[in-house]
Assembly symmetry: C2
Homo-oligomer: 271 residues x 2
């Protein structure tokens, strides 16, 4: 069922002063957004992966890939691959699979929030890199966890091989866990970022350079690699320092105050 390609690669030729045969995984990427772009760029430089094609409904955002792989905006032209990575918006996943209907290979989506069960067939799966991708910002996949899921062991092994080719952190995570992991990521990424925004707003309103907050932001993020967030907690709420809490509440507008009170109470309850 799995259709490997056998190829020479220059890197090993150089290293071993001889011919080395590689088993490369043939990949087609579907999509032209941030994740599709970052994956295509990374696969291009990965010996174990042969990115043969990128599909997108418009060619404009994928035409720059044509120097190293095929690009197309026609479903009918999608080539035969070992893995089809569908990196499109959550709501478009089922539609893409229905229209494509690959006869060989595994079809995987890349979403944190979507269950494997929306896909049809046996050779289906999930290839979910847990990171927040920004257009134009270079990404090193080595330290990005990739969560994989499939319906059978052979497919899991192939996805594991593909994920391990670009990342040092590969986890087998089922759909239920992935949904919860995605929610957790919303708390520690999107919501945390909103608190950074409030911090920046307070700085701007008071003519304080926001850069003063950056060292404490970095330290807060680093600290929980060594101790748990519960142990790491400090501040007026943790100390139940009622005077400081009252002083702070007097200074905040309604939007910030509502968030301040809710999170303060949550920390107070956790003491």
């Amino acid at each position: 069922m799995i259709n490997y390609t056998i190829k020479n690669t220059n890197s090993f030729f150089k290293k071993d002063f001889g011919l080395y045969l590689y088993i490369m995984i043939k990949v087609v990427i579907i999509g032209g957004g941030n994740l599709a772009t970052h994956l295509a760029t990374t696969f291009q430089h990965t010996d174990e992966v042969n990115l043969i094609q990128v599909y997108n409904r418009s060619l404009a955002s994928i035409s720059h890939f044509s120097s190293f792989c095929a690009v197309t905006d026609l479903m009918s032209e999608i080539m035969t691959a070992d893995v089809y990575i569908c990196a499109v918006s959550d709501s478009a996943i089922t539609d893409v699979q229905e229209k494509m209907m690959p006869s060989t290979g595994i079809f995987v989506h890349t979403s944190g929030a979507v269950s494997i069960d929306v896909l049809k067939g046996d050779h289906i799966g999930v290839f979910y890199p847990l990171q927040s991708f920004t257009k134009g910002k270079v990404v090193n996949f080595k330290s990005i966890p990739i969560c994989i899921e499939a319906k059978n062991n052979a497919d899991i092994l192939l996805l594991k091989k593909l994920a391990s080719a670009i990342s040092d952190q590969v986890y087998k995570i089922n759909s239920e866990q992935r949904k919860m992991l995605h929610i957790a990521a919303v708390f520690v990424n999107n919501f945390v970022n909103h608190l950074y925004k409030i911090g920046e707003d307070i700085c701007v309103e008071n003519e304080i350079p926001f850069e003063i907050l950056q060292p404490i932001i970095e330290e807060t993020a680093k600290k929980i690699k060594e101790i748990s967030p519960t142990e790491a907690q400090t501040g007026p709420a943790k100390r139940a320092d009622i005077n400081t809490l009252a002083l702070h509440e007097k200074e905040l507008d309604m939007n910030k105050l509502t968030i301040y009170k809710l999170l303060t109470n949550a920390i107070l309850k956790n003491r």
Copy 2:
């Protein structure tokens, strides 16, 4: 008014193959907590600073400093210094100053939340390092911003010299700004840490290793050094992805749900 000490130091003697005279700032630290301990340890290794004494109401937590400076638990024994750094809890600051009443030098507190105006006299000030200190964790003050405040220029200059001896980031910040900066720090440190705790709880409840979230936590913190938090925002709320938001809300208990809804609405409003 400022009483410098002139001393030989071995470091310069070695470097210049000759005698070098240093003007060192004589410092007394008051307190035995985290910040007092980190400051004392750092000053000990700082050529420009002569830490002459640490005072605390109990000797137990400061006795280990006796190998390189005087320690005391008697106010009457506090030595004459250029700067007295009062690193005690917010509520104890005025009491300490009243009991001590130094006749020379500047008396500074180290609090984010307390105004300079709670101190009496002219030679008063604030020396506020903006970081979250953990007992036992080594601190590199070089990258910790220190916010200074005083009543006259000569005192500002001395505090700037002292702060610059240990940190590369020294800011003149008045009491009103410092209060707001402290509130901003509660948002980006204490509240952010609570969101990490929720992330960890969700992982534990679903048998997911918390380490999967650490790369996205670090990336979220790093990203805002390059782009503003508003530009950096991603996720279902930013996309107004109503389906995912509804899916997430179904999964959360009341405590987490209240926080999820409030922060989601805040991001939705900000789009």
